[in-house]
């Protein structure tokens, strides 16, 4: 048993931090927050130049990162709140294309995705289908040389700036649930597509996207007709391994920085019992979240699939961010109300922002309820609800 990171891992951590120092400037951070869009073309291409988009893929001239390398890379990027949302979703889809897509799609799309030149948003959720993805009703009807798409997708984050949307549609009219679904790559310059902005509590912008009588050539189909569900699983595997503990790490670090500064009366908040109690509980949950995440990575590194362990780490990390976002803003007092980017805010408003930002985490990527169902079945041996 060894909990220490080796020199190679620490060297990578330093490299990522130096990269972030150079490329994630305060101006860019402010611009990202103002726009609510977690993407920047220049930043994405710089990541691509480091081979950090799809870092575990073998490419000429680069040594791919192992599971622990990817772990460190994603943790550092997430902790800095770097604009990686769109490159992450692009890679989720790239994995599907690599797994089941045509040779043409693989040849034209994948090299550009890993260079940060092509981006792909996710078009899975619908007004009546969130965590229950298999309830989708968006239709793709066969037409001469391709498909005609009709429907509506919710939470197509970055759907207004991406090059493509990964679309899950029902190709078999009377089919139900997981059957009769197919996945497509939809170029967003296609006629019949429209994105409408939706703003969220966290400040992030997402979109409702509309597909009206949209014609799509068959070469944009990713999965075999009717095999969309299993292709989707390739993407979701990736989503389950996204780290959330770095958000708690950032929140705790900022709150500790605030608490150790002497206040107007000369006393530092950390000297107060209730502040110490709130902070140390957050520190405990941060340790546990990090350990559950590192265990999933370790299991991957030895070729095991973290069937219940992945959901455990997602559940515990995200619920911890919610819990301590609430507890730490409360214990920090009225000043914690001052918002992100207000010049009087505590720690630049990052404490206040963490509270709002936490709300999405326990929903996307499978709600906490979904994670508990999986754990109950796969670990506790309980029957399906």
């Amino acid at each position: 048993v060894d909990f220490a990171w080796d020199d190679k891992a620490e060297a990578l951590r330093t490299e990522v931090r130096e990269f972030l120092h150079a490329h994630l400037t305060p101006d860019l951070e402010e611009e990202l927050y103002e726009s609510g869009v977690s993407h920047d073309d220049v930043f994405a291409r710089a990541m691509g130049a480091k081979n950090w988009i799809g870092a575990d893929w073998a490419r000429d001239g680069f040594e791919p990162l192992d599971a622990f390398g990817v772990h460190i890379l994603t943790h550092e990027l997430t902790k800095a709140d770097a604009p990686v949302y769109l490159v992450s979703t692009s890679m989720m889809v790239a994995r599907v294309i690599r797994g089941v897509g045509s040779e043409e799609l693989q040849a034209t799309i994948l090299p550009k995705v890993v260079r940060g030149e092509v981006t792909i948003a996710l078009g899975m959720s619908e007004p009546e289908a969130g965590s229950d993805v298999a309830a989708v009703t968006t239709r793709a009807r066969p037409a001469d040389g391709g498909w005609v798409i009709d429907g509506q997708k919710m939470f197509t984050t970055n759907g207004h700036i991406a090059d493509y949307v990964f679309l899950l549609a029902r190709t078999e009219p009377e089919s139900e649930r997981h059957r009769g679904l197919t996945t497509f790559l939809v170029p967003l310059r296609t006629e019949g597509f429209e994105a409408q902005a939706v703003f969220t509590v966290s400040g992030e912008r997402t979109n409702i996207t509309f597909y009206a009588d949209m014609f799509l050539e068959d070469r944009w189909r990713i999965s075999e007709v009717g095999a969309g569900w299993s292709s989707l699983m390739l993407a979701l595997q990736d989503e389950h391994s996204a780290p959330f503990s770095p958000h708690l790490d950032r929140l705790l670090e900022r709150t500790e920085a605030w608490a150790t500064e002497p206040g107007p009366d000369g006393a530092a908040p950390i000297e107060r019992e209730e502040i110490r109690r709130a902070l140390i509980r957050a520190a405990a949950d941060l340790e546990v979240s990090q350990l559950l995440e590192v265990r999933s990575t370790w299991m991957e590194s030895i070729g095991e699939v973290p069937v219940a362990e992945g959901p455990m780490s997602k559940l515990y990390s995200t619920e911890s961010v919610v819990r301590h976002g609430e507890a730490l803003t409360a214990v920090a007092g009225p000043d914690a109300l001052r918002s992100r980017l207000d010049p009087t805010a505590l720690e630049g408003g990052l404490i206040e922002h963490a509270l709002r930002y936490s709300l999405g985490m326990t929903i996307y990527g499978g709600t906490s309820e979904i994670q508990r169902n999986i754990i109950a079945q796969r670990r506790c041996g309980l029957p399906r609800p």
């Binding site: 048993v1 060894d2 340790e287 546990v288 265990r295 455990m312 508990r372 041996g381 309980l382 029957p383």
Partner: protein, 343 residues
């Protein structure tokens, strides 16, 4: 980072699981109530090397790591062993660490099996060491008074065994003048480190207690039917059990990290030890409560084994303190002592 146990560590855990499962659970656990001590089991554990393993090779022990001892402690918890393995291991290590002639003499007697020596988890107050673990069955106890660490005999006329929630062999011991083992910083430093070790190993036992109770209730929930379905298929039952499974895994990982931190003299050793205890203690309390609750009325019956876990999840931990006490100790390690700041 490598979370794999070695082949030897897996064998160690399974040999203790075999010994304790065979010898102690549940009939011998019940038979040992309320005194909480099974002399035959203790002899058996001694002969297996439970004490020798804990002592460094320099003092003729087997030099097990804290990670190894945590594996043994988890099995002690899982099988509710009515034997003071953790206290006696920690005390033996403390005697070895102090290293003074009287300490080494006491250690020799401990390793020969001729004396059972335990540790008072709190500094003595008004000449009494209260609720000493294994106090009802030990021959002597190591006590800190001020900055003086001494070895005090505990004959029957000077101790009062205390009936208690966890059916542990606790006693209040009225101190007589004992032989000094060490004083000053050497004494308090060694004692605090012994407490760190006790916290980590007890945390590991609590993980074992919680995990055993959790497995029992999951098995029950997968079979028991009510309202036309298996109760484990209802999310009101399944989701709390999924939360417990998650926290138990987290607690076990945190215990291992704290044990590793002590083994490697990591700067965060004290903080992690206290965090592991706090987290494991809350987790075991929750898991054993849930285990009783989801058994319905059956869990509340003395006849049912699940209450055995509930009692010890609390009794074995609170003899030192609550989760909140441990969080305070962790905060003092992480942020510095608050008393010193305000003084």
């Amino acid at each position: 980072v490598d979370l794999a146990l070695s082949e030897e560590q897996r064998e160690l855990a399974s040999s203790f699981a075999g010994l304790l499962g065979r010898a102690s659970f549940p009939d011998q656990v019940r038979a040992a109530e309320p005194a909480g001590f099974d002399a035959a089991l203790w002899r058996n554990l001694y002969e297996t090397g439970a004490l020798l393993m804990a002592v460094p090779e320099a003092q003729e022990g087997w030099g097990a790591s804290m990670v190894d001892l945590a594996l043994v402690a988890e099995e002690s918890g899982r099988w509710l062993a009515p034997a003071p393995v953790i206290e006696c291991q920690v005390t033996a290590r403390l005697l070895a660490r102090v290293g003074s002639p009287p300490a080494l003499e006491a250690l020799r007697a401990v390793l020969e099996g001729s004396r059972l020596v335990s540790l008072s988890l709190h500094p003595a107050r008004c000449g009494v060491a209260g609720l000493v673990p294994a106090g009802a069955v030990c021959d002597a106890v190591v006590v800190l008074e001020g900055d003086r660490l001494s070895l005090v005999p505990s004959p029957d006329e000077r101790r009062r065994p205390v009936a208690n929630l966890g059916f542990a062999p606790l006693a209040d011991i009225t101190l007589e003048d004992g032989g000094e083992l060490a004083h000053g910083v050497a004494a308090t430093g060694a004692y605090e480190l012994a407490l760190d070790e006790w916290l980590v190993l007890t945390a590991s036992a609590l993980v074992g207690i919680g995990a055993a109770a959790h497995e029992a209730v999951c098995g029950y929930a997968a079979e028991r039917r009510a309202f036309g379905g298996v109760i484990g298929s209802y999310q009101g039952v399944a989701h709390p059990l999924a939360e417990d499974a998650t926290r138990l895994d987290g607690a076990r990982l945190l215990v291992q990290k704290a044990a590793w931190a002590i083994d490697t003299h990591h700067a965060r050793g004290r903080e992690l030890a206290a965090l592991a205890f706090a987290f494991a203690s809350e987790t075991a309390e929750q898991a054993t409560y849930q285990a009783i609750h989801f058994h319905g009325g059956y869990g509340f019956m003395l006849e049912h084994d699940v209450q055995l876990f509930y009692r010890r999840a609390r009794g074995w931990a609170r003899v030192w303190g609550s989760a909140d006490d441990a969080y305070r100790r962790a905060a003092a390690a992480r942020y510095g002592s608050s008393e010193r700041r305000s003084a």
